[in-house]
């Protein structure tokens, strides 16, 4: 006889609320029903009642982890409508911020995954390394979470000492290659805990529109930084790690290798930082009117593609702000990944999708 186990809205693995009802036959999960919306704040609605400058601050609060990509995507849509092209230096600074954000998000995920695997030493190592990234973000922006870096037509703050950030990057790269990579790629305990569990096949990932590292761990290799480059990603050399097994181990491998690539991108961006201004002059005052039209921007967030669509009616308040986050597409795959699996593996499987409920609910 099957029975139901409600998990959440306070989750055993993650800090954010959502509810999952697992239907089990003995120890095996036979179905899962998801309940969302515990973090629903109506951010799209609110953004349509604030001017464009207030909107930047608002959308940065969609997520506490990948806040920068939200303000970046929003600013990029407005820049397309206004024609306010950011200067070169600002584009490189945006890339640096995006990769630092990816690093801290991936290290957060890696630590959480390690804790659920039962490897708490790695959890400690990941969070120690993450602090170095947070130091770099804090040194650049003055903030650890909501950086307030993006503005329409550029960035608000310069990277005044790229050499100091490169120094932090050396320590970080060393830690990732000496600690995280060997454990995630070769450790037998990790392999036995993660191999073959929570499989999301390539066909399932495609059918569900999965994006980001989750899709890339299932053999769907798209990365918006390569497929539809923005900022200066088309001038930077990097690889997009892809695995095909679609299990939790593949997600560990993709995340670990992506951190190495992020360090590579960051190093190139900081070394190539051109001289010049960091933003274009914008009209003074908060009543910043945007020409009528619709624009779309896509950015590769740590969890995958973020899409913003902004429609202006020519006033200082957007008519429509659409936010489609990566976890919104990825979360539905949890049902496919947990069915047929051991109940005890379900927290790790859920966490391995790297969900962000604040992004999903908005």
């Amino acid at each position: 006889m099957s029975y139901r186990i409600p998990i959440g809205p306070y989750h055993p693995a993650l800090e954010e609320p959502y509810k999952l009802e697992l239907v089990c036959d003995g120890e095996i999960v036979s179905d899962a029903v998801m309940h969302l919306g515990f973090n629903f704040r109506g951010i799209e609605y609110l953004a349509e009642r604030r001017n464009y400058l207030q909107g930047i601050t608002l959308v940065e609060r969609v997520c506490g982890i990948c806040s920068n990509v939200h303000s970046l995507s929003y600013c990029q849509t407005v820049e397309q409508l206004t024609g306010a092209e950011p200067p070169e230096r600002a584009l490189y600074i945006r890339v640096a911020l995006c990769e630092l954000e990816r690093l801290h998000s991936h290290l957060l995920w890696s630590g959480t995954a390690a804790k659920l695997i039962g490897f708490k030493t790695v959890f400690m190592a990941c969070f120690t390394l993450r602090e170095k990234v947070m130091d770099a973000l804090s040194a650049i922006s003055g903030n650890r979470v909501n950086y307030g870096m993006n503005c329409i037509g550029g960035v608000n703050r310069d990277i005044v000492d790229p050499e100091a950030i490169l120094g932090i990057l050396d320590e970080l790269e060393n830690g990732i290659s000496r600690t995280i990579l060997p454990i995630f790629l070769h450790d037998k305990t990790v392999e036995s805990r993660c191999k073959g569990i929570g499989i999301l096949t390539r066909e399932q990932a495609k059918a569900m529109g999965a994006v980001g590292p989750l899709a890339r761990a299932s053999g769907v290799g798209q990365d918006i930084r390569v497929a539809a480059p923005y900022c200066v990603y088309d001038r930077i050399q990097f690889n997009v790690p892809v695995e095909t097994s679609g299990d939790v181990r593949a997600r560990l491998v993709v995340h670990a290798l992506e951190m190495v690539e992020s360090c590579r991108i960051l190093r190139q961006a900081l070394r190539a930082l051109p001289a010049g201004p960091i933003h274009t002059p914008t009209p003074a005052g908060a009543r910043y009117k945007v020409p009528a039209g619709t624009a779309i921007s896509r950015v590769e967030a740590p969890r995958g593609e973020v899409l913003y669509q902004v429609t202006s009616n020519g006033t200082d308040i957007p008519e429509r702000v659409r936010v489609r986050t990566p976890t919104f597409m990825n979360m539905a795959t949890v049902r496919l990944a947990v069915v047929g699996q051991q109940l005890a593996d379900s927290p790790l499987i859920q966490a391995s999708c790297d969900p962000c409920y604040s992004c999903t609910d908005r």
Binding site: G37, Q80, D234, I296, R298, L307, R322, R324, D361
Partner: protein, 140 residues
């Protein structure tokens, strides 16, 4: 940035995605704005495209415009349709990725997607009113 290969529009038209196509502000836009959502979904799936989103916008005449976005080899394609009756054909049976997006669109804009087996609430709770993003205040 437009990274489309040469003859991209021609290849779209040869693939059965007729009409005119224009690259503007981050997407390829199809005109005229009257696509048939299910036929388009079938075509896009056959081309191995990825469903990205539906963006709904309340027009001044209270008609709801629906932009269906698909990614075809890194190119974002936007197909536009609209409804005055708050109804649209569901594509979830063809494209499971559209399930949550349709449920969300129903809750925000009151659109009923026809042909679905069930439409459980996604962001709101059972019994809550739908269309919570509608009836916007007049922008001053």
């Amino acid at each position: 940035m437009n990274t489309a290969p040469e003859n991209f529009v021609q290849s779209l038209q040869e693939s059965g995605l007729g009409g005119d196509w224009e690259w503007k502000h981050g997407s390829w836009w199809q005109t005229p704005e009257a696509m048939e959502v299910r036929a388009t979904a079938e075509r896009m799936i056959s081309l191995d495209a990825r469903f990205v989103a539906i963006t709904s916008t309340e027009r001044p005449d209270k008609e709801i415009r629906l932009d269906y976005q698909w990614d075809l080899n890194g190119q974002l394609l936007t197909f536009i349709t609209a409804t005055a009756e708050q109804q649209m054909a569901s594509i979830t049976d063809l494209c499971p990725a559209a399930d949550w997006v349709e449920r969300e669109t129903r809750e925000y804009f009151g659109i009923e997607f026809t042909g679905r087996e069930t439409t459980r609430p996604l962001m709101i709770r059972d019994g809550d009113p739908i269309g919570i993003n509608l009836h916007k205040e007049v922008v001053k």
